[in-house]
Protein backbone atom coordinates (compact mmCIF):
# COMPACT_ATOMS: atom_id res chain seq x y z
CA UNK A 1 0.00 0.00 0.00
CA UNK A 2 1.48 3.36 -0.90
CA UNK A 3 1.76 6.19 1.56
CA UNK A 4 -0.92 8.31 -0.07
CA UNK A 5 -3.57 5.66 0.22
CA UNK A 6 -2.49 5.00 3.75
CA UNK A 7 -3.38 8.49 4.86
CA UNK A 8 -6.61 8.50 2.96
CA UNK A 9 -7.89 5.66 5.07
CA UNK A 10 -8.82 6.68 8.57
CA UNK A 11 -8.55 3.25 10.18
CA UNK A 12 -4.79 2.72 9.86
CA UNK A 13 -4.27 6.36 10.67
CA UNK A 14 -6.45 6.02 13.71
CA UNK A 15 -4.56 2.95 14.83
CA UNK A 16 -1.26 4.73 14.39
CA UNK A 17 -2.42 7.76 16.35
CA UNK A 18 -3.75 5.58 19.12
CA UNK A 19 -0.45 3.76 19.43
CA UNK A 20 1.51 7.00 19.42
CA UNK A 21 -0.77 8.63 21.97
CA UNK A 22 -0.33 5.74 24.37
CA UNK A 23 3.42 5.87 23.90
CA UNK A 24 3.54 9.61 24.51
CA UNK A 25 1.31 9.30 27.55
CA UNK A 26 3.77 6.78 28.88
CA UNK A 27 6.94 8.69 28.05
CA UNK A 28 5.65 12.00 29.35
CA UNK A 29 4.00 10.29 32.32
CA UNK A 30 0.62 11.80 31.51
CA UNK A 31 -1.07 8.75 32.99
CA UNK A 32 0.11 6.08 35.36
CA UNK A 33 1.60 2.99 33.79
CA UNK A 34 -1.07 0.89 35.45
CA UNK A 35 -3.82 2.92 33.88
CA UNK A 36 -2.28 2.62 30.44
CA UNK A 37 -1.85 -1.11 30.83
CA UNK A 38 -5.48 -1.40 31.88
CA UNK A 39 -6.68 0.64 28.92
CA UNK A 40 -4.71 -1.51 26.52
CA UNK A 41 -6.06 -4.61 28.19
CA UNK A 42 -9.66 -3.50 27.76
CA UNK A 43 -9.36 -2.28 24.19
CA UNK A 44 -7.32 -5.37 23.47
CA UNK A 45 -9.90 -7.88 24.69
CA UNK A 46 -12.61 -6.15 22.68
CA UNK A 47 -10.45 -6.32 19.57
CA UNK A 48 -9.54 -9.93 20.27
CA UNK A 49 -13.17 -10.97 20.64
CA UNK A 50 -13.96 -8.94 17.54
CA UNK A 51 -12.19 -11.51 15.38
CA UNK A 52 -14.75 -14.19 16.15
CA UNK A 53 -17.76 -12.10 17.19
CA UNK A 54 -17.41 -9.06 14.95
CA UNK A 55 -16.12 -10.73 11.83
CA UNK A 56 -17.46 -14.28 11.88
CA UNK A 57 -20.62 -13.37 13.82
CA UNK A 58 -20.18 -16.03 16.50
CA UNK A 59 -20.91 -14.52 19.89
CA UNK A 60 -18.49 -16.27 22.18
CA UNK A 61 -20.02 -15.54 25.55
CA UNK A 62 -17.58 -17.57 27.55
CA UNK A 63 -14.59 -15.93 25.96
CA UNK A 64 -13.14 -15.09 29.37
CA UNK A 65 -12.20 -18.74 29.53
CA UNK A 66 -9.14 -17.88 27.47
CA UNK A 67 -8.13 -15.04 29.77
CA UNK A 68 -8.26 -17.61 32.52
CA UNK A 69 -6.48 -20.47 30.80
CA UNK A 70 -3.55 -18.39 29.56
CA UNK A 71 -3.42 -16.36 32.74
CA UNK A 72 -2.94 -19.54 34.72
CA UNK A 73 -0.51 -21.05 32.20
CA UNK A 74 1.62 -17.92 32.33
CA UNK A 75 1.55 -17.74 36.11
CA UNK A 76 2.53 -21.39 36.41
CA UNK A 77 5.31 -20.99 33.86
CA UNK A 78 7.01 -18.16 35.70
CA UNK A 79 6.24 -19.65 39.10
CA UNK A 80 7.94 -22.92 38.36
CA UNK A 81 10.54 -21.92 35.80
CA UNK A 82 13.18 -19.60 37.20
CA UNK A 83 14.73 -19.10 33.76
CA UNK A 84 11.49 -17.69 32.46
CA UNK A 85 11.02 -15.62 35.58
CA UNK A 86 14.50 -14.17 35.32
CA UNK A 87 14.12 -13.37 31.65
CA UNK A 88 11.15 -11.15 32.40
CA UNK A 89 13.31 -8.35 33.67
CA UNK A 90 15.82 -8.51 30.86
CA UNK A 91 15.75 -6.93 27.40
CA UNK A 92 13.20 -4.28 28.49
CA UNK A 93 10.57 -6.93 29.10
CA UNK A 94 10.35 -8.19 25.55
CA UNK A 95 10.73 -11.79 26.77
CA UNK A 96 7.44 -11.34 28.66
CA UNK A 97 5.82 -10.98 25.30
CA UNK A 98 7.28 -14.27 24.16
CA UNK A 99 6.21 -16.12 27.27
CA UNK A 100 2.75 -14.63 26.72
CA UNK A 101 2.85 -15.98 23.17
CA UNK A 102 3.39 -19.40 24.64
CA UNK A 103 0.54 -18.98 27.11
CA UNK A 104 -1.71 -17.64 24.36
CA UNK A 105 -0.78 -20.65 22.28
CA UNK A 106 -2.32 -22.92 24.89
CA UNK A 107 -5.60 -21.03 24.62
CA UNK A 108 -5.42 -21.21 20.84
CA UNK A 109 -4.95 -24.95 21.05
CA UNK A 110 -7.88 -25.34 23.44
CA UNK A 111 -10.04 -23.16 21.20
CA UNK A 112 -9.06 -25.19 18.19
CA UNK A 113 -9.88 -28.53 19.80
CA UNK A 114 -13.09 -27.33 21.43
CA UNK A 115 -14.00 -25.42 18.28
CA UNK A 116 -14.09 -28.54 16.13
CA UNK A 117 -17.34 -29.69 17.72
CA UNK A 118 -18.65 -26.45 19.22
CA UNK A 119 -18.40 -24.27 16.11
CA UNK A 120 -20.92 -26.58 14.49
CA UNK A 121 -23.48 -24.94 16.76
CA UNK A 122 -25.17 -21.78 15.64
CA UNK A 123 -26.35 -18.61 17.31
CA UNK A 124 -27.49 -18.94 20.88
CA UNK A 125 -26.43 -22.57 21.10
CA UNK A 126 -22.86 -21.61 20.38
CA UNK A 127 -23.04 -18.79 22.92
CA UNK A 128 -24.42 -21.12 25.58
CA UNK A 129 -21.84 -23.80 24.82
CA UNK A 130 -19.03 -21.31 25.33
CA UNK A 131 -20.53 -20.29 28.66
CA UNK A 132 -20.50 -23.98 29.53
CA UNK A 133 -16.87 -24.17 28.48
CA UNK A 134 -15.99 -21.22 30.69
CA UNK A 135 -17.62 -22.78 33.72
CA UNK A 136 -16.16 -26.20 33.02
CA UNK A 137 -12.64 -24.73 32.80
CA UNK A 138 -13.23 -22.62 35.90
CA UNK A 139 -14.39 -25.57 37.96
CA UNK A 140 -11.55 -27.74 36.71
CA UNK A 141 -9.02 -25.08 37.69
CA UNK A 142 -10.71 -24.68 41.06
CA UNK A 143 -10.41 -28.42 41.59
CA UNK A 144 -6.87 -29.03 40.46
CA UNK A 145 -4.81 -25.91 41.11
CA UNK A 146 -5.00 -26.31 44.91
CA UNK A 147 -3.95 -29.95 44.52
CA UNK A 148 -0.91 -28.89 42.51
CA UNK A 149 0.52 -26.90 45.36
CA UNK A 150 -0.92 -26.14 48.80
CA UNK A 151 0.27 -22.57 48.38
CA UNK A 152 -2.34 -22.10 45.66
CA UNK A 153 -5.09 -21.94 48.24
CA UNK A 154 -8.52 -21.35 46.74
CA UNK A 155 -7.01 -21.66 43.27
CA UNK A 156 -5.26 -18.36 43.75
CA UNK A 157 -1.68 -18.03 42.53
CA UNK A 158 0.15 -15.13 44.09
CA UNK A 159 3.35 -14.58 42.18
CA UNK A 160 6.41 -14.55 44.43
CA UNK A 161 8.89 -11.71 44.16
CA UNK A 162 11.19 -13.59 41.80
CA UNK A 163 8.33 -14.09 39.35
CA UNK A 164 7.30 -10.47 39.12
CA UNK A 165 8.38 -7.93 36.53
CA UNK A 166 8.95 -4.20 36.64
CA UNK A 167 5.93 -2.15 35.60
CA UNK A 168 7.84 -0.65 32.70
CA UNK A 169 8.68 -4.07 31.39
CA UNK A 170 5.07 -5.19 31.70
CA UNK A 171 4.13 -2.06 29.83
CA UNK A 172 6.45 -2.94 26.96
CA UNK A 173 5.03 -6.45 26.71
CA UNK A 174 1.47 -5.17 26.86
CA UNK A 175 2.21 -2.53 24.27
CA UNK A 176 3.60 -5.03 21.78
CA UNK A 177 0.71 -7.41 22.40
CA UNK A 178 -1.79 -4.59 21.99
CA UNK A 179 -0.23 -3.34 18.76
CA UNK A 180 -0.13 -6.89 17.43
CA UNK A 181 -3.83 -7.36 18.11
CA UNK A 182 -5.12 -4.20 16.49
CA UNK A 183 -2.84 -4.51 13.50
CA UNK A 184 -3.91 -8.13 13.09
CA UNK A 185 -7.53 -6.98 13.22
CA UNK A 186 -6.91 -4.47 10.50
CA UNK A 187 -5.03 -6.90 8.27
CA UNK A 188 -7.68 -9.57 8.71
CA UNK A 189 -10.46 -7.15 7.90
CA UNK A 190 -8.78 -6.24 4.64
CA UNK A 191 -7.84 -9.75 3.62
CA UNK A 192 -9.64 -12.43 1.71
CA UNK A 193 -9.88 -14.31 5.00
CA UNK A 194 -11.68 -11.33 6.52
CA UNK A 195 -14.10 -11.10 3.60
CA UNK A 196 -14.82 -14.79 4.06
CA UNK A 197 -15.48 -14.34 7.77
CA UNK A 198 -17.87 -11.46 7.15
CA UNK A 199 -19.65 -13.55 4.55
CA UNK A 200 -20.01 -16.27 7.19
CA UNK A 201 -21.57 -13.81 9.59
CA UNK A 202 -24.00 -12.72 6.89
CA UNK A 203 -25.10 -16.15 5.74
CA UNK A 204 -23.02 -19.16 6.47
CA UNK A 205 -24.69 -21.49 3.99
CA UNK A 206 -24.42 -19.02 1.17
CA UNK A 207 -20.76 -18.43 2.03
CA UNK A 208 -20.03 -22.15 1.95
CA UNK A 209 -21.89 -22.46 -1.34
CA UNK A 210 -19.72 -19.73 -2.82
CA UNK A 211 -16.53 -21.53 -1.95
CA UNK A 212 -15.70 -20.11 1.48
CA UNK A 213 -14.20 -22.94 3.54
CA UNK A 214 -16.42 -22.05 6.45
CA UNK A 215 -15.36 -24.77 8.87
CA UNK A 216 -11.69 -23.97 8.49
CA UNK A 217 -12.20 -20.22 8.63
CA UNK A 218 -14.32 -20.38 11.76
CA UNK A 219 -11.76 -22.55 13.48
CA UNK A 220 -8.90 -20.27 12.56
CA UNK A 221 -10.72 -17.15 13.66
CA UNK A 222 -11.80 -18.75 16.94
CA UNK A 223 -8.26 -19.94 17.65
CA UNK A 224 -6.76 -16.56 16.73
CA UNK A 225 -9.27 -14.76 18.87
CA UNK A 226 -8.52 -17.10 21.78
CA UNK A 227 -4.81 -16.69 21.20
CA UNK A 228 -4.92 -12.90 21.52
CA UNK A 229 -7.36 -13.00 24.42
CA UNK A 230 -5.03 -15.43 26.14
CA UNK A 231 -1.97 -13.25 25.62
CA UNK A 232 -3.80 -10.37 27.25
CA UNK A 233 -4.86 -12.55 30.16
CA UNK A 234 -1.25 -13.61 30.63
CA UNK A 235 0.22 -10.12 30.71
CA UNK A 236 -2.66 -8.79 32.75
CA UNK A 237 -2.22 -11.56 35.29
CA UNK A 238 1.43 -10.67 35.61
CA UNK A 239 0.53 -7.04 36.04
CA UNK A 240 -1.87 -7.93 38.84
CA UNK A 241 0.82 -9.93 40.57
CA UNK A 242 -1.05 -13.18 40.24
CA UNK A 243 -4.20 -14.88 39.06
CA UNK A 244 -7.38 -16.12 40.64
CA UNK A 245 -10.71 -17.44 39.51
CA UNK A 246 -11.91 -13.93 38.73
CA UNK A 247 -10.17 -14.13 35.38
CA UNK A 248 -12.92 -16.52 34.34
CA UNK A 249 -15.60 -14.15 35.49
CA UNK A 250 -18.18 -13.56 32.80
CA UNK A 251 -18.09 -9.89 33.78
CA UNK A 252 -15.10 -9.54 31.48
CA UNK A 253 -17.25 -10.81 28.65
CA UNK A 254 -19.67 -8.05 29.55
CA UNK A 255 -16.90 -5.52 28.99
CA UNK A 256 -15.85 -7.03 25.68
CA UNK A 257 -19.33 -7.35 24.25
CA UNK A 258 -20.45 -3.94 25.43
CA UNK A 259 -17.48 -2.32 23.73
CA UNK A 260 -18.13 -4.10 20.46
CA UNK A 261 -21.86 -3.39 20.55
CA UNK A 262 -21.42 0.30 21.34
CA UNK A 263 -18.88 0.74 18.57
CA UNK A 264 -20.46 -1.42 15.93
CA UNK A 265 -20.12 -5.00 14.92
CA UNK A 266 -18.22 -6.16 11.85
CA UNK A 267 -15.63 -3.42 11.59
CA UNK A 268 -12.23 -2.62 13.03
CA UNK A 269 -13.14 0.93 13.83
CA UNK A 270 -16.26 -0.16 15.72
CA UNK A 271 -14.70 -1.89 18.70
CA UNK A 272 -11.84 0.61 18.75
CA UNK A 273 -14.19 3.54 18.99
CA UNK A 274 -16.51 1.52 21.20
CA UNK A 275 -13.82 0.68 23.70
CA UNK A 276 -12.68 4.26 23.91
CA UNK A 277 -16.24 5.47 24.45
CA UNK A 278 -16.71 2.70 26.98
CA UNK A 279 -13.61 3.73 28.82
CA UNK A 280 -14.55 7.38 28.93
CA UNK A 281 -18.10 6.54 30.00
CA UNK A 282 -16.88 4.11 32.58
CA UNK A 283 -14.45 6.61 34.02
CA UNK A 284 -16.86 9.51 34.16
CA UNK A 285 -19.72 7.37 35.42
CA UNK A 286 -17.47 5.77 37.95
CA UNK A 287 -16.59 9.14 39.34
CA UNK A 288 -20.11 10.59 39.31
CA UNK A 289 -22.16 7.50 40.07
CA UNK A 290 -19.80 4.85 41.35
CA UNK A 291 -22.68 2.58 42.32
CA UNK A 292 -24.68 2.89 39.19
CA UNK A 293 -22.08 2.93 36.46
CA UNK A 294 -22.87 -0.59 35.31
CA UNK A 295 -26.59 0.02 35.52
CA UNK A 296 -26.23 3.02 33.26
CA UNK A 297 -23.96 1.10 30.90
CA UNK A 298 -26.58 -1.61 30.77
CA UNK A 299 -29.18 0.96 29.74
CA UNK A 300 -26.88 2.32 27.07
CA UNK A 301 -26.36 -1.12 25.60
CA UNK A 302 -30.08 -1.87 25.76
CA UNK A 303 -30.84 1.32 23.88
CA UNK A 304 -28.12 0.75 21.29
CA UNK A 305 -29.28 -2.78 20.55
CA UNK A 306 -32.79 -1.44 20.01
CA UNK A 307 -32.12 1.70 18.06
CA UNK A 308 -28.66 1.41 16.53
CA UNK A 309 -27.98 -2.27 16.14
CA UNK A 310 -24.75 -1.61 14.31
CA UNK A 311 -23.38 0.80 16.85
CA UNK A 312 -21.87 4.25 16.60
CA UNK A 313 -19.85 3.39 13.54
CA UNK A 314 -22.95 1.85 12.00
CA UNK A 315 -24.82 5.13 12.38
CA UNK A 316 -21.99 7.01 10.68
CA UNK A 317 -21.72 4.37 8.01
CA UNK A 318 -25.35 4.73 7.06
CA UNK A 319 -24.90 8.45 6.55
CA UNK A 320 -24.73 9.57 2.97
CA UNK A 321 -23.51 13.14 3.36
CA UNK A 322 -20.04 12.24 2.19
CA UNK A 323 -21.45 10.16 -0.59
CA UNK A 324 -21.37 6.41 -0.69
CA UNK A 325 -17.69 6.45 0.14
CA UNK A 326 -18.24 6.88 3.84
CA UNK A 327 -18.98 3.23 4.26
CA UNK A 328 -15.82 2.25 2.46
CA UNK A 329 -13.40 4.38 4.39
CA UNK A 330 -14.78 3.67 7.79
CA UNK A 331 -14.24 -0.09 7.73
Amino acid sequence: MDIDEFFKRPTPLFILILLIVILIAKLLRLETTDYLITIMFFIGIAMALNIIMGFAGYVSFGHTVFLGISGYVFALLVYYNRDFANLMNMYSGIPIFFIALLAGGVSALVAFLVGIPVLKLKGAFFAIATIGLDFAALYIIKAFIPILNPEFFGAQIILPAYALAYKDNVFVAMYITFALIIIANYLIRRSRFGMGLLAISEDEDAAEALGVPTTKYKLISFALSAFFTGMLGAVFGLNSGGVDENLFNLAHTIDMIVMIVIGGIGTVMGPLVGSIIYFILYDTLLVTYPEFNLVILGFIVAVIVLFAPRGVVGILRGKQFMGKKLRDIIE
Binding site: R192, M195, G196, L198, A199, E202, D203, D205, A206, A207, E208, A209, L210, G211, V212, P213, T214, T215, G266, K324, R327
Partner: protein
Protein backbone atom coordinates in the same frame (compact mmCIF):
# COMPACT_ATOMS: atom_id res chain seq x y z
CA UNK B 1 -23.14 -29.01 -27.92
CA UNK B 2 -20.77 -31.93 -27.81
CA UNK B 3 -21.75 -35.27 -26.39
CA UNK B 4 -19.22 -35.38 -23.57
CA UNK B 5 -20.85 -35.71 -20.17
CA UNK B 6 -19.66 -33.23 -17.58
CA UNK B 7 -21.72 -34.45 -14.63
CA UNK B 8 -22.82 -38.04 -14.16
CA UNK B 9 -25.52 -38.72 -11.61
CA UNK B 10 -25.57 -42.39 -10.83
CA UNK B 11 -28.27 -44.10 -8.79
CA UNK B 12 -28.57 -41.23 -6.33
CA UNK B 13 -30.92 -41.77 -3.40
CA UNK B 14 -31.65 -39.27 -0.65
CA UNK B 15 -34.01 -39.88 2.23
CA UNK B 16 -35.32 -37.53 4.89
CA UNK B 17 -36.48 -39.82 7.63
CA UNK B 18 -39.11 -41.98 5.95
CA UNK B 19 -39.49 -39.69 2.97
CA UNK B 20 -37.57 -40.67 -0.16
CA UNK B 21 -36.77 -37.31 -1.75
CA UNK B 22 -34.62 -38.84 -4.48
CA UNK B 23 -35.03 -42.43 -5.56
CA UNK B 24 -32.19 -44.01 -7.57
CA UNK B 25 -31.92 -41.08 -9.92
CA UNK B 26 -29.53 -41.62 -12.83
CA UNK B 27 -28.83 -39.26 -15.73
CA UNK B 28 -26.04 -37.28 -17.34
CA UNK B 29 -25.47 -33.62 -17.88
CA UNK B 30 -23.58 -32.86 -21.06
CA UNK B 31 -20.95 -30.24 -21.58
CA UNK B 32 -22.27 -27.03 -23.05
CA UNK B 33 -25.97 -27.83 -22.84
CA UNK B 34 -28.86 -26.08 -21.18
CA UNK B 35 -30.67 -28.75 -19.22
CA UNK B 36 -34.07 -28.05 -17.76
CA UNK B 37 -35.27 -29.97 -14.71
CA UNK B 38 -38.98 -29.88 -14.12
CA UNK B 39 -41.36 -31.58 -11.78
CA UNK B 40 -44.16 -30.71 -9.38
CA UNK B 41 -43.52 -29.18 -5.96
CA UNK B 42 -41.67 -31.53 -3.70
CA UNK B 43 -40.42 -33.65 -6.60
CA UNK B 44 -36.87 -33.43 -5.29
CA UNK B 45 -35.38 -30.85 -7.65
CA UNK B 46 -33.78 -28.70 -4.99
CA UNK B 47 -32.67 -31.80 -3.16
CA UNK B 48 -30.93 -32.99 -6.32
CA UNK B 49 -29.10 -29.68 -6.61
CA UNK B 50 -28.14 -29.92 -2.97
CA UNK B 51 -26.70 -33.38 -3.54
CA UNK B 52 -24.69 -32.22 -6.52
CA UNK B 53 -23.31 -29.20 -4.67
CA UNK B 54 -22.51 -31.17 -1.53
CA UNK B 55 -25.05 -29.55 0.79
CA UNK B 56 -26.50 -33.02 1.34
CA UNK B 57 -24.65 -36.28 1.14
CA UNK B 58 -26.66 -38.84 -0.85
CA UNK B 59 -27.62 -41.93 1.11
CA UNK B 60 -26.70 -44.00 -1.89
CA UNK B 61 -25.26 -43.53 -5.36
CA UNK B 62 -22.46 -41.46 -6.79
CA UNK B 63 -21.96 -38.17 -8.55
CA UNK B 64 -19.06 -37.55 -10.91
CA UNK B 65 -17.82 -34.25 -12.23
CA UNK B 66 -15.42 -34.46 -15.16
CA UNK B 67 -14.77 -38.04 -14.18
CA UNK B 68 -13.96 -37.13 -10.58
CA UNK B 69 -16.07 -38.63 -7.81
CA UNK B 70 -17.44 -35.64 -5.92
CA UNK B 71 -20.00 -37.48 -3.77
CA UNK B 72 -19.97 -36.14 -0.24
CA UNK B 73 -17.34 -33.49 -0.81
CA UNK B 74 -18.03 -30.27 1.13
CA UNK B 75 -19.86 -27.55 -0.80
CA UNK B 76 -16.96 -25.12 -0.93
CA UNK B 77 -14.75 -27.76 -2.55
CA UNK B 78 -17.34 -28.43 -5.21
CA UNK B 79 -17.68 -24.73 -5.90
CA UNK B 80 -13.93 -24.47 -6.31
CA UNK B 81 -13.98 -27.45 -8.64
CA UNK B 82 -16.41 -25.59 -10.88
CA UNK B 83 -20.06 -26.18 -10.02
CA UNK B 84 -22.01 -23.26 -8.58
CA UNK B 85 -25.65 -23.00 -7.60
CA UNK B 86 -27.95 -20.04 -7.20
CA UNK B 87 -30.48 -20.33 -4.41
CA UNK B 88 -34.20 -20.75 -4.83
CA UNK B 89 -34.58 -18.42 -1.87
CA UNK B 90 -32.07 -15.68 -2.60
CA UNK B 91 -29.29 -15.32 -0.06
CA UNK B 92 -27.40 -12.10 -0.68
CA UNK B 93 -24.93 -10.87 1.91
CA UNK B 94 -27.13 -7.98 2.95
CA UNK B 95 -24.54 -5.83 4.65
CA UNK B 96 -22.16 -6.14 1.69
CA UNK B 97 -22.30 -3.90 -1.32
CA UNK B 98 -23.36 -5.40 -4.59
CA UNK B 99 -19.75 -5.32 -5.75
CA UNK B 100 -18.48 -6.99 -2.60
CA UNK B 101 -21.07 -9.72 -3.02
CA UNK B 102 -19.78 -10.51 -6.46
CA UNK B 103 -16.18 -10.23 -5.32
CA UNK B 104 -16.73 -12.97 -2.75
CA UNK B 105 -17.66 -15.20 -5.66
CA UNK B 106 -14.42 -14.43 -7.45
CA UNK B 107 -12.19 -14.60 -4.38
CA UNK B 108 -13.41 -18.02 -3.34
CA UNK B 109 -14.38 -19.51 -6.66
CA UNK B 110 -12.45 -21.66 -9.06
CA UNK B 111 -9.29 -19.62 -8.76
CA UNK B 112 -9.54 -19.30 -4.97
CA UNK B 113 -6.26 -18.23 -3.47
CA UNK B 114 -4.66 -17.57 -6.84
CA UNK B 115 -6.38 -14.31 -7.52
CA UNK B 116 -5.64 -10.83 -6.26
CA UNK B 117 -8.27 -8.49 -4.86
CA UNK B 118 -7.91 -6.28 -7.91
CA UNK B 119 -8.44 -9.15 -10.31
CA UNK B 120 -11.44 -10.23 -8.26
CA UNK B 121 -12.83 -6.73 -8.54
CA UNK B 122 -12.39 -6.81 -12.32
CA UNK B 123 -14.18 -10.11 -12.64
CA UNK B 124 -16.97 -8.95 -10.35
CA UNK B 125 -17.44 -5.74 -12.31
CA UNK B 126 -17.54 -7.63 -15.60
CA UNK B 127 -20.27 -9.92 -14.33
CA UNK B 128 -22.28 -7.11 -12.77
CA UNK B 129 -22.14 -5.42 -16.13
CA UNK B 130 -23.39 -8.58 -17.75
CA UNK B 131 -26.44 -8.93 -15.52
CA UNK B 132 -27.08 -5.20 -15.61
CA UNK B 133 -26.32 -4.36 -12.00
CA UNK B 134 -23.23 -2.27 -12.62
CA UNK B 135 -25.02 0.97 -11.74
CA UNK B 136 -25.82 -0.35 -8.28
CA UNK B 137 -22.40 -1.72 -7.48
CA UNK B 138 -21.87 0.46 -4.42
CA UNK B 139 -25.30 -0.04 -2.91
CA UNK B 140 -25.96 -2.44 -0.10
CA UNK B 141 -27.42 -5.69 -1.32
CA UNK B 142 -30.24 -5.40 1.22
CA UNK B 143 -31.66 -2.50 -0.78
CA UNK B 144 -32.13 -4.44 -4.02
CA UNK B 145 -35.47 -5.63 -5.36
CA UNK B 146 -36.15 -9.37 -5.55
CA UNK B 147 -35.50 -9.29 -9.27
CA UNK B 148 -32.16 -7.58 -8.74
CA UNK B 149 -31.25 -9.95 -5.96
CA UNK B 150 -31.78 -12.85 -8.32
CA UNK B 151 -29.45 -11.23 -10.81
CA UNK B 152 -26.97 -10.63 -8.04
CA UNK B 153 -27.06 -14.34 -7.22
CA UNK B 154 -26.26 -14.99 -10.84
CA UNK B 155 -23.42 -12.45 -11.00
CA UNK B 156 -21.98 -13.88 -7.81
CA UNK B 157 -22.14 -17.39 -9.21
CA UNK B 158 -20.59 -16.32 -12.50
CA UNK B 159 -17.77 -14.59 -10.68
CA UNK B 160 -16.75 -17.95 -9.28
CA UNK B 161 -15.90 -18.82 -12.90
CA UNK B 162 -17.66 -22.18 -12.84
CA UNK B 163 -18.03 -24.70 -15.64
CA UNK B 164 -21.53 -25.60 -14.60
CA UNK B 165 -24.16 -23.26 -13.18
CA UNK B 166 -27.20 -24.65 -11.42
CA UNK B 167 -30.12 -22.22 -11.41
CA UNK B 168 -32.81 -23.04 -8.87
CA UNK B 169 -36.00 -21.30 -9.95
CA UNK B 170 -34.17 -18.20 -11.04
CA UNK B 171 -37.28 -17.00 -12.83
CA UNK B 172 -39.85 -17.52 -10.10
CA UNK B 173 -41.55 -14.33 -9.01
CA UNK B 174 -40.42 -12.30 -12.01
CA UNK B 175 -42.77 -10.54 -14.39
CA UNK B 176 -42.87 -11.60 -18.07
CA UNK B 177 -40.51 -8.84 -19.17
CA UNK B 178 -37.99 -9.74 -16.50
CA UNK B 179 -38.30 -13.39 -17.47
CA UNK B 180 -37.41 -12.55 -21.06
CA UNK B 181 -34.42 -10.48 -19.93
CA UNK B 182 -33.24 -13.32 -17.76
CA UNK B 183 -33.60 -15.85 -20.55
CA UNK B 184 -31.49 -13.71 -22.83
CA UNK B 185 -28.80 -13.59 -20.22
CA UNK B 186 -29.00 -17.35 -19.68
CA UNK B 187 -28.63 -17.99 -23.39
CA UNK B 188 -25.76 -15.57 -23.59
CA UNK B 189 -23.90 -17.18 -20.69
CA UNK B 190 -24.38 -20.52 -22.37
CA UNK B 191 -23.42 -19.50 -25.92
CA UNK B 192 -20.76 -16.90 -25.39
CA UNK B 193 -19.19 -17.92 -22.12
CA UNK B 194 -19.65 -21.61 -22.88
CA UNK B 195 -21.07 -22.48 -19.46
CA UNK B 196 -23.13 -25.58 -18.97
CA UNK B 197 -26.45 -24.60 -17.42
CA UNK B 198 -28.90 -26.68 -15.44
CA UNK B 199 -32.10 -24.93 -14.56
CA UNK B 200 -34.92 -25.97 -12.30
CA UNK B 201 -37.98 -24.11 -13.39
CA UNK B 202 -41.71 -23.90 -12.91
CA UNK B 203 -42.17 -21.22 -15.56
CA UNK B 204 -42.93 -23.85 -18.14
CA UNK B 205 -42.87 -22.00 -21.42
CA UNK B 206 -39.57 -20.44 -20.47
CA UNK B 207 -37.79 -23.65 -19.71
CA UNK B 208 -39.30 -25.47 -22.69
CA UNK B 209 -38.07 -22.64 -24.82
CA UNK B 210 -34.55 -22.21 -23.64
CA UNK B 211 -33.49 -25.76 -22.74
CA UNK B 212 -31.87 -28.22 -25.12
CA UNK B 213 -32.98 -31.11 -23.02
CA UNK B 214 -35.43 -31.74 -20.21
CA UNK B 215 -35.37 -34.09 -17.25
CA UNK B 216 -38.61 -34.70 -15.40
CA UNK B 217 -38.62 -35.65 -11.74
CA UNK B 218 -41.70 -36.98 -10.03
CA UNK B 219 -41.86 -38.04 -6.38
CA UNK B 220 -38.11 -38.35 -6.36
CA UNK B 221 -37.98 -40.61 -9.40
CA UNK B 222 -36.69 -39.81 -12.85
CA UNK B 223 -39.84 -39.88 -14.92
CA UNK B 224 -38.60 -38.84 -18.32
CA UNK B 225 -35.66 -37.44 -20.19
CA UNK B 226 -35.44 -35.99 -23.69
CA UNK B 227 -35.82 -32.93 -25.85
CA UNK B 228 -38.53 -30.48 -24.79
CA UNK B 229 -40.73 -31.67 -27.63
CA UNK B 230 -40.30 -35.34 -26.83
CA UNK B 231 -40.93 -34.81 -23.17
CA UNK B 232 -44.03 -32.76 -23.77
CA UNK B 233 -45.48 -35.60 -25.79
CA UNK B 234 -44.79 -38.41 -23.35
CA UNK B 235 -48.11 -39.58 -21.92
CA UNK B 236 -46.73 -40.25 -18.44
CA UNK B 237 -45.34 -36.73 -18.26
CA UNK B 238 -48.58 -35.25 -19.42
CA UNK B 239 -50.65 -37.07 -16.86
CA UNK B 240 -48.17 -36.52 -14.09
CA UNK B 241 -47.36 -32.96 -14.62
CA UNK B 242 -48.23 -31.04 -17.70
CA UNK B 243 -51.86 -31.95 -17.58
CA UNK B 244 -52.87 -30.92 -21.04
CA UNK B 245 -50.95 -31.97 -24.14
CA UNK B 246 -52.08 -29.09 -26.34
CA UNK B 247 -51.10 -26.62 -23.72
CA UNK B 248 -47.73 -28.25 -23.38
CA UNK B 249 -47.07 -28.14 -27.09
CA UNK B 250 -48.08 -24.52 -27.15
CA UNK B 251 -45.37 -23.86 -24.60
CA UNK B 252 -42.79 -25.55 -26.77
CA UNK B 253 -43.76 -23.59 -29.83
CA UNK B 254 -43.63 -20.19 -28.20
Amino acid sequence: MDEKEIIKIHNVTKRFGGLVALDKVTFNIYKGEILGIIGPNGAGKTTLFNCITGVYRPDDGKIFFNGLDITGKPPHRITQLGIVKTHQIVKPFNEFTVLENAMIGALFGRRAGKISKDEAREIALKNLELVGLIEKKDELASGLTLHEKKFLELARALSAEPEVILLDEALAGLNPKEVEESLDIVRMINKELGKTIVMVEHVMHAVMNVANRIVVLHFGKLLAEGSPKEVAEMPEVITAYLGDKDLALKFVKR
